[in-house]
């Protein structure tokens, strides 16, 4: 296998950058071997276990009403949280990338904060806010509103864990792109909205989609945070990952892995889209260098 490897550095084969073949073989084997053992093998296991008892058993797992309701709840939580964070991401990146104001770097740090908070704690903070013993617990109880161990809590936790994705994709790109195109549009007579819709948004559309894809993947797959706020009521407050947990803990392995395979497929689709989008975003980066030849 190692014989198929050739050295490359910045597209050229450069003599000084070549290791002896045996070094290359070892580096390659260790690197790829580690990847296969730790990443590829678990992925293969998911599909193998799911299909262990054949296609019939596999598809039967999805006809379970509890599975269907888990899928429905996951879709609802995603459909609410992703658009909310999308609007937030657009607003935040417009304010941060297009204007100079004090405290900007603090604001950027605060937006990234949810990434520094572990999943369990992300759920816990909402239990402390809205739970029975929470700050708003007595008031909510008096008004017969249930947040924790109900759908609103799941949505809130999902919003929290996917909070920074869109903003953090857009901010650096929009900062790099600068304001010149927007200024040009305004000077040409465009209104603020026209400038946003016709100039700014098309320039960041791929990065926006990238952020949305990461948000969707995380929203559908979040386990820890949702687990804390859900209450695990089968058919009511179970998302897909929580349903997987329940099936697994009931030793219903085929069903657990069948449902898990759905999430694994989602992950693979995410990776494929992500890879496809990465070069599109690269192309949207500003290149100040004019081409050398005059045509």
């Amino acid at each position: 296998m190692a014989t198929a490897i050739s050295t490359s550095a910045s597209g050229h084969s450069r003599a000084a950058l070549r290791e002896p073949l045996w070094v290359k073989a070892i580096v390659f084997t260790l690197g790829i071997g580690f990847l296969s053992l730790f990443l590829v093998l678990p992925l293969v296991a998911v599909f193998t276990e799911a299909l262990r008892e054949g296609l019939h058993a596999y598809f039967a797992s999805f006809r379970d009403p509890a599975a269907l309701s888990a899928i429905r709840l996951t879709l609802v939580a995603t459909a609410i949280s992703v658009p909310l964070n999308l609007v937030f991401g657009l607003a935040a990146s417009w304010a941060i990338a297009k204007f100079e104001f004090r405290g900007k770097s603090v604001l950027i740090t605060l937006i990234d904060l949810p990434f520094a908070v572990s999943p369990v704690i992300s759920g816990l903070i909402f239990v402390l806010m809205f739970g029975l013993q929470g700050w708003l617990g007595p008031w909510l109880r008096a008004h017969d509103i249930q947040v924790i161990f109900a759908v609103p809590g799941i949505v809130l936790a999902t919003v929290f864990v996917t909070f920074p994705f869109v903003a953090r994709e857009l901010i650096p790109l929009m900062q790099e792109q600068g304001n010149d195109e927007e200024q040009a549009a305004l000077l040409l007579g465009a209104s603020g909205w026209q400038t946003f819709w016709r100039v700014t948004l098309p320039n960041v559309k791929w990065a926006l989609l990238y952020g949305v894809i990461l948000s969707v993947a995380r929203a559908m797959g979040e386990f820890g945070a949702v687990s804390v706020v859900s209450g695990h009521v089968r058919g009511k407050t179970n998302t897909v990952p929580l349903h997987v947990e329940i099936l697994y803990n009931e030793y219903n392995f085929v069903a657990a892995f069948a449902v898990a395979s759905l999430l694994a497929l989602l992950a693979l689709a995410t990776l494929a889209l992500k890879t496809a989008l990465e070069w599109k975003i690269q192309a949207a980066r500003p290149s100040l260098e004019p081409t050398a030849v005059e045509g």
Partner: protein, 279 residues
């Protein structure tokens, strides 16, 4: 006032977008997080200390921090090898390998958890080979290490990879032309240039592992004092309606991860300053 805060711009919409940003940020992130810290004030200091230093909690720290640290070390080594392979070598399927590195980001943690458990269980694909050797992978601290290694790998690869791509081939060629062999070039030229990225990758991988829950709870077996991670302990306390106890542990973990992030920023600041001064 307006001039002191913000520079004039012809673009519209600043008030609206910044206003919405601050409102939404406060509602979703700042107020709930502040609530967490405020909740600890309902405990006395001695209660707090007692909670966060009880033997069962200390055992969970030892496991969580120890396994996270080891996983980050393993990932630093293999992450560097993988990044090197992806940047420097051409081989069939490279794009696939490059994409699959992010799998732990994309795969829901519950799925990785049950998949790893199945692989390393005594009768699993890998477990059945390890068991005769006396190695109990699943339901042991080793299982925790395996899960944390899985989820931390992309952090190292994705921070080292761009640094390696930016490394100028000329520097290595210069070293070679001055008579250095490949190993000397790697040790004196390449490694120092990659060090900031490797430290950052290590720290990110470590920080992520500290808070990990989903992929660990299945494989660890959750035996108190032995394979119980701190995140699980928080949930356990919550299920026993010990909100104060859960909050105390959460604050400890949160402060730990903030310090790690602070350290990452300090390291990056220090290296960029050193680079500017040509040290």
């Amino acid at each position: 006032m307006r001039n002191l805060f913000k520079r004039h711009s012809v673009l519209p919409g600043f008030g609206l977008t910044l206003g919405w940003t601050l409102t939404y940020l406060s509602l979703i992130v700042l107020i709930p997080l502040t609530g967490l810290f405020l909740r600890t004030t309902t405990m006395t200091w001695s209660d707090f200390v007692e909670t966060v230093t009880s033997p069962r909690v200390i055992a969970s720290y030892r496991l969580t921090f120890g396994a996270s640290f080891l996983a980050a070390v393993i990932n630093s080594v293999f992450g560097l090898l993988l990044a090197w392979t992806l940047v420097r070598y051409q081989f069939p399927g490279k794009r696939f390998v490059d994409a699959i590195v992010d799998l732990p980001f994309a795969l829901p943690t519950a799925v990785s958890g049950i998949a790893l458990t199945t692989l390393y269980a005594p009768n699993g694909w890998l477990g059945k080979w390890l068991e005769p050797l006396g190695i109990h992978a699943a339901f042991s601290p080793l299982g925790v290490l395996i899960a944390l290694t899985f989820i931390g790998l992309p952090f190292v690869v994705r921070t080292v990879q761009p640094a390696l791509e930016e490394l100028e081939a000329e520097a290595e060629e210069a070293a070679a032309s001055l008579g250095a062999n490949r190993l000397q070039t790697f040790y004196y030229v390449v490694l120092p240039a990659l060090l900031p990225a490797m430290i950052t990758g290590f720290a990110l991988s470590f920080a992520r592992a500290l808070g990990e829950y989903g992929s660990v709870v299945f494989i660890s077996g959750n035996k108190p004092m032995v394979t119980e991670i701190t995140s699980l302990l928080i949930i356990t306390k919550l299920e026993q309606y010990d909100y104060a106890g859960a909050t105390a542990l959460a604050v400890v973990m949160l402060v730990a991860s903030f310090f790690i992030l602070l350290a990452i920023n300090a390291v990056q600041w220090w290296f960029s300053r050193a680079a500017l001064q040509g040290v």
